[in-house]
């Protein structure tokens, strides 16, 4: 049995093991950073440190939503990176039997753009376990388009020269 944080995104329940979660916080706004990937909502201050926030709705290809009183950020830590995930709400911590995780059906992994690594049936509820390294883009940098750089990494001429 392992503790998991459960959060909601567009009326679907997702789960993350607690050992990668540092804390959960309310969210009002993040500071926009120009020229970064669209799914990066910006940066916030967490315990004196600057932490990037990924808007999981945008990351999962869902329509964006305004922040409400329920909106939370789940601050995660993997290796040395601390990254926060913006979710619609997060209020539950559950013990899940890891042995009962099942591979994600293709319809689920397609809907979540491959960010779901497994599913877990808990009574009538279906929890989707998310693939954190993949969300953070740990294995590739192809999803980091710099608005100011073209794909070759060469500066884009903004002025005649």
């Amino acid at each position: 049995m392992k503790l998991h944080v459960v959060f909601n995104l567009a009326d679907t329940e997702y789960a993350l093991p607690v050992d990668v979660v540092l804390q959960m916080e309310t969210f009002s706004k993040a500071t926009h950073v120009p020229g970064v990937a669209e799914y990066v909502a910006g940066i916030v201050t967490v315990r004196g440190g600057v932490v990037p926030v990924i808007d999981l709705r945008v990351r999962f290809g869902l329509p964006p939503a305004e922040a409400t009183l329920d909106t939370r950020i789940v601050v995660t830590k993997s290796q040395d990176r601390v990254v926060a995930l913006r979710v619609d709400s997060a209020r539950e911590v559950l013990k899940l039997d890891v042995a009962k995780h099942q591979p994600a059906p293709s319809v689920v992994s397609e809907r979540s753009s491959g960010f779901v690594s497994a599913v877990h049936a808990l009574g009538p509820r279906l929890l989707l376990l998310v693939d954190l390294p993949k969300i953070l883009g740990e294995h590739s940098h192809e999803q980091l388009p710099h608005a100011l750089l073209d794909h070759t990494g060469e500066p884009r001429p903004a002025l005649p020269s």
């Binding site: 706004k29 500071t31 926009h32 950073v33 120009p34 020229g35 970064v36 990937a37 990066v40 910006g42 940066i43 916030v44 201050t45 004196g48 440190g49 600057v50 932490v51 990037p52 990924i54 990176r81 601390v82 990254v83 953070l136 883009g137 940098h141 980091l144 710099h146 608005a147 100011l148 750089l149 500066p155 884009r156 001429p157 903004a158 002025l159 005649p160 020269s161």
Partner: protein, 689 residues
Amino acid sequence: MTGTADLKEFIAAYLVEAEEHLTVASAQLLAVESAQRAGEKNPRAVRETFRSLHTIKGLSAMVGVEPIVAIAHRMETFLRDYDRSGAALPLPAIDALLRGVQAIEQRVATLGRGEAVLVPSTELLTALDSLGFAETTSKPDPALELDLDPTLRSKLAPFEIEQILRAVASGQRALKAEFRPSPALAALGLTINSVRESVSKIAELVRVLPRAVPIGPDAPGGLAFVLLLITRASHEAIAEACGIPVDAVSDLHRSLPAAAPSTDVMDVAGTSPALIPEDTLETHTRRGVVRVDVSRLDDAMEGLSALIVTRFRMARSVAALRERGVNTRELSEIMADNARQLRDLRAAIVRVRMVPVAELLERVPLLVRGLRRATNRAVRLELEGGNAELDKAVSERLFPVIVHLVRNAVDHAIESPDERVRRGKPEEGLLRITCGSRSNARLELTVTDDGRGIDAAAVARKAGRPKPDDAAGLLELLCIPGLSTRDIATTTSGRGMGMEIVKRVVVDELGGELELQTELGVGTTFTLRVPLTISIVDAFSFECGAQRFVVPVSVVDEIVEIDATSLVHVPANDDGTPPVDILSRRGVAVPLLRLAQIFGLPDTTGGASKAIIVRRAGSPIAFAVDRMLGQQEVVVRTVSDSLVRAPGVSGATDLGDGQPTLVLDLVALSASLSVSPLPRRLHEAARSL
């Protein structure tokens, strides 16, 4: 775990001390060498070298780095013999000793990275052995044996056992004391480092051996340190110094030889040759000086940063009160005091972090010496360090840059002695490094050689670009990653290797400037200007596209009002490049970039009112922003995650609202947009103003 933490601290302290003594050893050896070349002797330097190596050996034995002990032991023994004989050190010996120092340095660095330390090459050990030292000290009594756990005994080097037995033979006592670190003891200030320090005042520490013990109330970390020591002090005194019960101290040798007749008086007067003073094991020679790990200073700075952010929040709520009509005169006075106190505190912490620039340069002579031999160039080194000081963090980043520039100068720029004579230059090349703070915020460092200079045409050919018209353009070419290859560096340009690294550190990481002056056949000068300290900066805050930003004051040349009548709009070119405005500033055309447009922010005011002018490679560039908000000291936090790394963003700060505010590097931003140099037709347009 307390145990591992203690062991880690022990090693951290070791690394700092070892590095310090290595620096002394190599500087003293170089002093011996230059004295010898001048036909003089420098016995003081020989002795200083000995002391440093002796300490290194002792420290290394305590942390159990046998390879270093093996090297240092040989060097130490050789130096002691020479010191006693009073003869001059032969030059080849100095060479071997310097190699030894280098080998130790490498191993200390390896240990610092947490990797396995390599055993020394037999070639090096043979070289050191063949220097020919003779064991002059008396042989230990073979009848004595150590009373020590076999596994611990196996960790001792033969000379350590010999050291213990010899001490016993001369009437001293060999003891072992066991210290078990725990949080309770640490709270009383008792850690293995403090114990080591206090014990070494009354005893000679031969070795400290860490030992795993069953976890229990007296050993919560499951770790104990066995201190092997030689002393004339009593068991009780040792126990007290260690903060341990008396029964944790016991004899190391099995039988006290009845034949040991010595009294203290006899021994001191009789057997010690006293050439090497007794205090050589004392590692803390400077009184009132504290060695501190930089990370601890970072913690203090971190605390101060939090205070500054709190101050911003207070200032905001005072302003809010005032707006509501509350009389805040007294509060404002307190706030003013508070601001001054924070400034003082900040200055005090920054001062602690400052190290003399001279320290940064003290390793350069050794580097040049090595290069001189490797390249067969004759080079004279002139160093001008001055009294400037800079932040340790900046100093650490800057050192590899200096190494690159020095290496390039000796390797590639300075011609061979024959060639120099042919060209009518003095046979010996000159390498000159100067360092000084021009203002209280920036350090200027120059590296000058009188070598062949950089051939701009050759560099341009290699880069496949047109020949640059000036030095700034040439520098830009040199810093293109991957441009410089050996053939261009050695045969034509005289330089190039690693220039992109130099630029990355100086410009991108430290937010400094890099300049080049070069003349074919005459020489080259690189000028670096870097901030003396990073992390807290004086900054302007401003608003643009409904978002707030800050920019360090140090990079801002001027802030001007944008006057629509002084603007010239240059229409889009037919090659698809976007339109640009230019601003006439005292008759000089300055390209004006719209920050809101670059960052894709909404244009809320319909027209920017202010322009922030910065300089890139000497040319001014203006950024249009909506309005200026103020000037204040801000704490810059790095924004390092790849998700939010963006050109022009150097960090984030908190202005008191709990939200990060981006710290912009407008110079880097302009570089990423490649707006310099100003195209000719813009100049023409500006002239028509």
